[in-house]
């Protein structure tokens, strides 16, 4: 696509473009390189060493950290949970917000914006405020959920203290703080669907479902991809929930929390920076693959 203008461009023009391009990029590059790329490079470097919080010689240990990781039960559990969270929350957030959007987008203005607002509220309430109030609602002794269970005569559940439920409780909170934006997006995408195509399909005898799938869904593909990207990013950022609710207990550890734990919690392992960095690298590789897949999908469309 860019080939033609480039071949015809003169050398001087290329140079001018490059210089002005980088001048425009400069402010952003300072921050991006300085606070993302350089730390990442150091992180990769450290993952092959026994770098430590405590002063001392840093030695190259090859792949030792990575080999240790694959034998670390806690890490493998954390990796499993991390992907469980992403794999469950991304599709459910997309499906749920699409459903809500399709149910509300034809409603009258004020009603529509009321619904939109309400579903968006948990996003603006702030992750920590949301977390503490959910913690109280999940409380084993006087939480509202157990009160309801008692009210209907069922056994109470120790929501956050039971490894069968805890991770789902966390996914639920993550879910409520994630759907706000996708709903807003889908509402507007549905409003923008080309009505003439819908009618044409109906004339051709397509039923409700076919119209939705063939016409509307296809037209909303860019929105869906955007939602996939931001929800994935969001799901990887659920640190506060783990740290404030379970400290990684009740089988809710994630790689993000385990990195923090290994680096700074007061354990004899504390300050095992090489190891923590190795976890970071593994996580980054997985995320890189995931992003690549998502963008490949976007390109194909």
């Amino acid at each position: 696509m860019a080939k033609q203008p480039q071949t015809t461009m003169s050398r001087a023009l290329v140079r001018r473009e490059t210089i002005s391009g980088y001048l425009f990029l400069l402010p952003s590059l300072i921050f991006f390189l300085g606070f993302v790329i350089i730390p990442m490079v150091i992180c990769i470097f450290n993952s092959f060493t026994n770098a430590n919080m405590h002063p001392g010689d840093v030695q190259f240990v090859g792949l030792k950290n990575f080999i240790d990781l694959w034998q670390d039960v806690t890490f493998l559990k954390a990796l499993k949970n991390t992907f469980l969270i992403v794999i469950v929350s991304v599709p459910t957030v997309c499906a749920f917000s699409l459903w809500v959007a399709s149910a509300i987008y034809k409603l009258k203005g004020p009603v529509l914006s009321a619904f939109r607002c309400i579903f968006y509220l948990p996003v603006v309430t702030g992750s920590v405020a949301v977390t503490v109030v959910w913690k109280w609602m999940y409380d084993n002794y006087n939480g509202i959920f157990n009160q309801i269970l008692k009210g209907v005569g069922a056994d109470t559940i120790n929501w956050l203290g039971d490894s069968r439920f805890a991770i789902w409780c966390i996914i639920l909170i993550l879910f409520t703080t994630s759907v706000g934006q996708p709903i807003v997006l889908y509402v507007s995408a549905l409003g923008n669907v080309d009505q003439s195509l819908v009618e044409a399909a109906q004339v051709d005898g397509a039923n409700h479902f076919q119209v939705f799938w063939r016409v509307k869904w296809a037209q909303m593909m860019p929105t869906t991809l955007y939602i996939l990207v931001i929800t994935t990013i969001n799901s990887f950022q659920c640190f506060a929930l783990i740290q404030l609710l379970t400290q990684g207990g009740s089988d809710t550890n994630t790689v993000m929390f385990y990195i923090y734990w290994t680096a700074f919690k007061l354990t004899e392992q504390a300050g095992h920076f090489g190891y923590a960095n190795a976890m970071g690298v593994v996580l980054a590789i997985f995320i890189g693959l995931l992003s690549a897949v998502q963008f490949r999908l976007a390109k194909e469309k």
């Binding site: 002794y141 490894s163 740290q243 207990g249 700074f264 354990t267 004899e268």
Partner: protein
């Protein structure tokens, strides 16, 4: 054309990244330098050849030392006497350790820190971040400081990483009104505050029959307040937590296993992974739990969040502190809390001098009485510069507590190597047992992990 561009771009950015990495490598190497005393001492000491005019202090919430107004009164008094200002930061137990470790990594750790030997001696001291305070100790101090408080502050090599200020014995507490309602008060000895394990079991049964819900929680949502679960399990049938010379953990002691089995089998006791010590206390104040395993003199004095008065729940029911139950009903072996100051070695001699002045002021001077009573714990020494510290509180409860509980202080095993790792293993172990995992196997695994940390 396009291909050469790509290669050029790659080369360029590689150069960029490498050169930047090299620069930051330089800065990275520079960071430990500031924390290494030899290299930077002359440099940082140079601008402040005289006395340091300000020091920083980070405090864990040791009783009233977590309260800004009370601490400010103390530090103001210190500033008035010495002219050294003190900047105080307040840590919480839940994330205080992370904060300190982050600060050490970034090289901005405080000059002084207030906590107990398990962190100061066994961790930061052992890792070489703290100043040896042995030179602050003369013969008078040695005779004044209670031996049980001094011993844990000094490590095996004779280095003193904590100067003890106050201490207490951690015990448990019961809701007396609830016990009376369930007819369970017959199982406790209110005179000596002791009970036998059999009576404890009967009491829990009676309470469960009366209230139909969890009576006491073996909380295991984290390490907070784990001294309570340790003391409960160890005391029930006389098990131990570590061996006598503090080199290995002994969690698979049949007496401990018997205790855990017993607790698991009781309807009124729940292994609750949603609670830590602090949550348990809140549930006990609230009246949901009828007994608390995470208790001490400061809790007993605390008028609670509803302000119904000391020794009362939020609904005004009476709280009674108790020994943990033991097989024969004799006084329990209680875990101690010993709090004092450590000094971070940042290579600045003037700051260290100033920090020592602060310790002297708080721990061994006429002001010590104030400093200790602020904590709502007991003095770690009998007298300081002529002031008697044994009768600090004109509060009957505190004096009774001192007479009934302090003598029961057990072995302070917290200075064992691998302590921090062991604490993590302990609450994870309790969680898994509570979830119904095989007990012997779970205990064996976690004990092995803890022992690996103790050996390494």
């Amino acid at each position: 054309m396009k291909k050469t561009h790509r290669i050029l771009a790659l080369l360029l950015s590689l150069c960029l990244v490498v050169s930047l990495a090299a620069c930051s490598g330089g800065t990275g190497a520079g960071t430990p330098e500031t924390s290494a005393p030899e290299t930077s001492a002359p440099e940082t000491a140079a601008p402040s050849t005289g006395d340091a005019t300000s020091i920083s202090l980070w405090v864990y919430p040791v009783g009233g030392w977590g309260d800004e107004t009370k601490v400010k009164a103390l530090t103001d008094a210190f500033t008035a006497e010495t002219g050294i200002s003190v900047k105080v930061e307040y840590l919480a137990y839940a994330d205080g350790d992370d904060k300190v470790n982050t600060a050490i990594t970034a090289g901005n750790q405080p000059d002084l820190i207030l906590e107990g030997p398990e962190r100061l001696v066994a961790n930061w001291g052992a890792n070489g971040y703290l100043v040896d305070l042995a030179d602050m100790l003369d013969d008078t101090d040695k005779s004044e400081i209670i031996p049980a408080a001094l011993a844990p502050c000094i490590n095996a090599e004779g280095k003193m990483y904590e100067y003890p200020m106050c201490m207490t014995a951690h015990c448990m507490a019961i809701n007396l009104d609830a016990f009376k309602a369930a007819g369970a008060d017959q199982y406790i000895d209110l005179e000596t505050r002791t009970w036998s394990t059999d009576n404890f079991i009967k009491a829990v049964e009676a309470l469960y029959a009366e209230f139909g819900s969890t009576v006491g929680a073996v909380y295991c949502g984290g390490q907070g307040g784990d001294q309570g679960t340790r003391a409960l399990i160890n005391n029930m049938y006389g098990g131990t937590f570590t061996n006598a010379d503090h080199t290995a953990y002994t969690w698979d002691d049949p007496k401990n296993i018997q205790a855990i089995e017993q607790l698991l089998s009781m309807d009124g006791i729940a292994f609750d992974a949603s609670l830590q010590g602090g949550d348990e206390i809140a549930k006990f104040y609230q009246g949901a739990l009828k007994m608390a395993f995470c208790w001490n003199s400061a809790q007993q004095l605390n008028p609670n969040n509803a302000d119904t008065g000391e020794g009362k729940t939020v609904t005004g029911e009476e709280i009674v502190y108790m020994n943990f139950p033991t097989a024969d009903g004799s006084p329990a072996e209680l875990c101690g809390g010993i709090w004092g100051f450590g000094i971070f070695d940042k290579g600045d001699a003037a700051k260290i001098e100033a920090a020592k002045k602060f310790i002297k002021f708080m721990c061994d001077s006429p002001s010590t009485a104030d400093a200790v009573s602020t904590s709502t714990f007991f003095a770690a020494r009998t007298s300081a510069e002529g002031t008697d510290l044994t009768k600090l509180f004109d509060n009957e409860m505190m004096n009774d507590y001192a007479a009934l509980m302090l003598p029961n202080l057990g072995d302070y095993y917290n200075v064992i190597k691998g302590w921090a790792a062991a604490r993590t293993e302990w609450w994870n172990m309790l969680q898994e047992i509570g979830n119904g995992d095989d007990m012997t196997e779970t205990i064996a695994t976690h004990m092995a992990n803890a022992n690996a940390a103790a050996a390494g």
